[in-house]
């Protein structure tokens, strides 16, 4: 039985973290701008794109990745792999589900534990949290895809004696 190398797992995990974080940055930017548009600010497409790019390149990336995405995906993927092995299910199902549910818990949990009233201000709106969490599904699917060749044999049915 072969398994993906640790290096490949680490790279795939980092890719998943980056994708989840960029998705979250983009989503919270749009919620913030929509709130400002609601109180009279003119928000056009170029402002949306420019602000999104600034958020992606700003300190939001390490904050969201470090406090929320990395620990959440780490726990979610470990639990997903355990379920795959325990009940022989599909990684395409358990990993994305774990990532989404993990972020739905992780974002409010870190908001609650943070010494400030709310770490991610845009997540005042529950819809923002849900859509930010949805990015975890895409990232988890990419994680599974990147490691799929090595994993095919991990989940192969064991021959009966």
């Amino acid at each position: 039985m072969s398994t993906p190398s640790i290096a490949r797992v680490v790279v795939a995990f980092l890719v998943a973290v980056v994708l989840t974080t960029l998705w979250g940055a983009a989503v919270q930017t749009q919620f913030n701008l929509s709130a400002l548009a609601g109180i009279g600010m003119e928000v056009d497409a170029s402002l949306r794109l420019g602000t999104m790019a600034r958020d992606m390149a700003s300190g939001f990336f390490p904050t969201y990745a470090g406090y929320i995405v990395v620990p959440t995906l780490l726990v979610a993927f470990l639990l997903a792999e355990g379920l795959v092995r325990w009940i022989n299910g599909s990684r395409w199902f358990w990993y994305p589900l774990g990532a989404v549910l993990g972020l739905l818990v992780g974002i409010p949990l870190v908001n609650y534990l943070a010494p400030v009233a709310l770490l991610v201000g845009a997540s005042r709106d529950p819809a923002c949290t849900v859509i930010m969490a949805a990015g975890g599904a895409l990232a988890a699917a990419l994680f599974v895809y990147l490691l799929a060749p090595g994993w095919r044999q991990v989940v192969a049915p064991r021959p009966h004696p």
Binding site: L47, F60, V120, G121
Partner: protein, 381 residues
Amino acid sequence: MKLSSIPAFVLFMLAGLSGAAANSYTVENVAGGLEHPWSVAFLDDDRMLVTERPGRLRLIDRNGLRDEPVAGLPPVFSSGQAGLFDVLPARDFQASGILFISFAHGDDDANHVRIIRARFDGDRLHDVHPIFTAQPAKSGDAHYGGRMAWASDGSLLMGTGDGFYFRELPQQLDNHHGKIIRILDDGSVPPDNPFVTREGALPEIYSYGHRNVQAIVVDAAGGRVYAHEHGPRGGDELNSIEAGGNYGWPLITYGRDYSRALITPFTEQPGLKQPLLHWTPSIAPGGMALYQGDHGPWRNSLFVAAMAEKSLRRVALGADGLPGEQEVMLKELDQRVRDVRSPPGRSAVYVVTDEASGSVLRIRPTDTSVAPVASIAGGQP
């Protein structure tokens, strides 16, 4: 002096002595053992009142801090940043005994910042009744403002907060959140308030677009009303308040979300007031006082309590009333400073420290020849 307060007294005296050589001031303990004191008010030469955020009003007189809190205070919603805030004697307090007290009223699901008017007989409050309650009720326990000041014309100013979760409300005039309100001492609305004739606007609003106003100082001689407010991550602002002014939150800010995301892409926009200065990174300003004593180097200065920075800042004002150099004081104490007051005719300023066992401290100048020590970071747009 109580036995339990001796260690604190020694600590502060040592801090004051060690600070004297480098900082040209001494620190003396006036009263200790106060639970998160929020505000201090001088009633006369011998007495001062201190609010404790959990909901107690304490009297300090010639004998020190009275053990029993002042009776007669209504129930206070105490949670997080909510609690008992400011106490402000009436301008004719010596004759009337009237106090104005601000606090959080309600519960976690529905609460407001409220001002009550009451008569203090030296022991307890009488004739207590509310004269202002911010509308509408909000949930949560953050961002109330609550600091009050007398305007030059005898009207009462108070800053409010945006409730944190409702940061768009300061730009809307149909609510009291994120505003400075102006009322008369019976709670009625001055007829010359800027929005009294605007349909849909609450008539108490004096200025808007504030995040969480923490202090208001009226410089009658200079003709300015100063107010400062907490920014989010950076962007604490010192503003010069004008009737009807929009101070921009959250459309413009020099701060960022706690996650470091942009709250807005803009730091300035047409029609929105710029701060006189902003503190980035945040110092989390508390109370503020215009120095009214006789110590030369401190004249024409604003003193700003700072909680996150754990300091007292002296902001020198120019002849035009604009802020200049800043001096950072009290860093050696390593305590959150919540309020600062400068009683007329005294060279000392008084601060309260926002600690579980907080204190009232007297800061006396010792050197009349010292100019501002350093120019400190903090942008002036």
